[in-house]
Symmetry: C2
Subunit: 242 residues, 2 copies
Amino acid sequence: MEIAFKPYKKTFDYSYTYGMFPTVELINSRPETVIKVLISSQFKSDSSSLNIFELCKDKNIKTEINDKLFNRISEKDNCYVIGVFEKYECKLINDEPHICLVNPSNMGNLGTMIRTLAGFGLNDLAIISPGVDIFDPKVIRASMGSLFKINFRYYNDFSDYQMEFKNHKIYTFMLDGAISLKEVNHSKDELFTLVFGNEATGLDSSFSKIGTSVIIKHTDRIDSLNLTIAAGIAMYEFCNII
Amino acid sequence: MEIAFKPYKKTFDYSYTYGMFPTVELINSRPETVIKVLISSQFKSDSSSLNIFELCKDKNIKTEINDKLFNRISEKDNCYVIGVFEKYECKLINDEPHICLVNPSNMGNLGTMIRTLAGFGLNDLAIISPGVDIFDPKVIRASMGSLFKINFRYYNDFSDYQMEFKNHKIYTFMLDGAISLKEVNHSKDELFTLVFGNEATGLDSSFSKIGTSVIIKHTDRIDSLNLTIAAGIAMYEFCNII
């Protein structure tokens, strides 16, 4: 693949991980996608941390010390390692529970939700377009690299998603949901999809006819919970991690 | 008070709310602190929205249309209303449950946590210094103005806080907590304080000897949950909003 070492754009066939932590997650979880790892000449490995050169050698991944390229694509001062990787596609697993985000518009929020879903043992994320670009380095950074551990797929419409996964019981999270999250009784073996709307607008009223609509009750001192907080609470309740 | 209309600094005795929503929350919750409300000449009131001029008149608050001042302190293009208010001090209520944040370092996170605590019916926030400036406009914006509805107070040490509130049962949230959040059985009338550490470092080990240490279990696919997510889940579990 021809890499024009330029700041990331959505149209690129490749993207970047900034910093050691997400780059190591990339290398460990998706080694086949890694094109190369750029290392700043100012990078100092300390004995306590893992040796990035050895890790790459183990996985047969090229490393390059080239400050000119590095500085051209680096966005933050305190970044000494950048992974360059080819974008990839995933399939969602049919017999696993899913998270579905309808039109997510904030990159930091998407990354945080990916981190939360990996944390609660979920692996499969559907995104209904339009939604932010999951390969944007800002999403990857906010996910702390956990993006590379999950499956995701974009769908044009919720109905396309639903056609493909007919056995999933749908729970839509809405401010006028029919039942409170504390009242939801889902059986342990139930296949579920938790559906969340956009940061500003939530799910539109058409979603109240799909599956079970759920509200996370809060006081009237706020208009709504922050999306990432609501999604985190819902995942915590549905996924019994012991 | 003499206002030098300049971009916000921590050392100022006053601060700003950017945008209609937090400014209205300020006016409604803390009218006595408002110095004036600046309105951009480009502001268009639409009939569906509340009339900011009337609201200010009702509360005896000065409004001023002055684009020169406005542009000097405005930070975003799509902001047409700025509240200018005098900083104030609060006391925490002794017979209410509390949230305690030890060394919070991210303004957006602090604001999000304030919004969550107001949403779950909590009113009292202790902050252990050093911590970010709660009056920074970035905190206010992330809180969606709910900062003005709660009480907060800074303490130099956790022990200072604890000396003042001896009847609160302390729950410290830590990655090596002794019991899982799902196992916590707190009685409905119990006075509690939920304690959370800094974004990067969490609570240091000295906190495991204070009160009951609690872990929110997650898989080993992530290092930790995001602080705001963990705090949101804990508040949800402790505060039964029905």
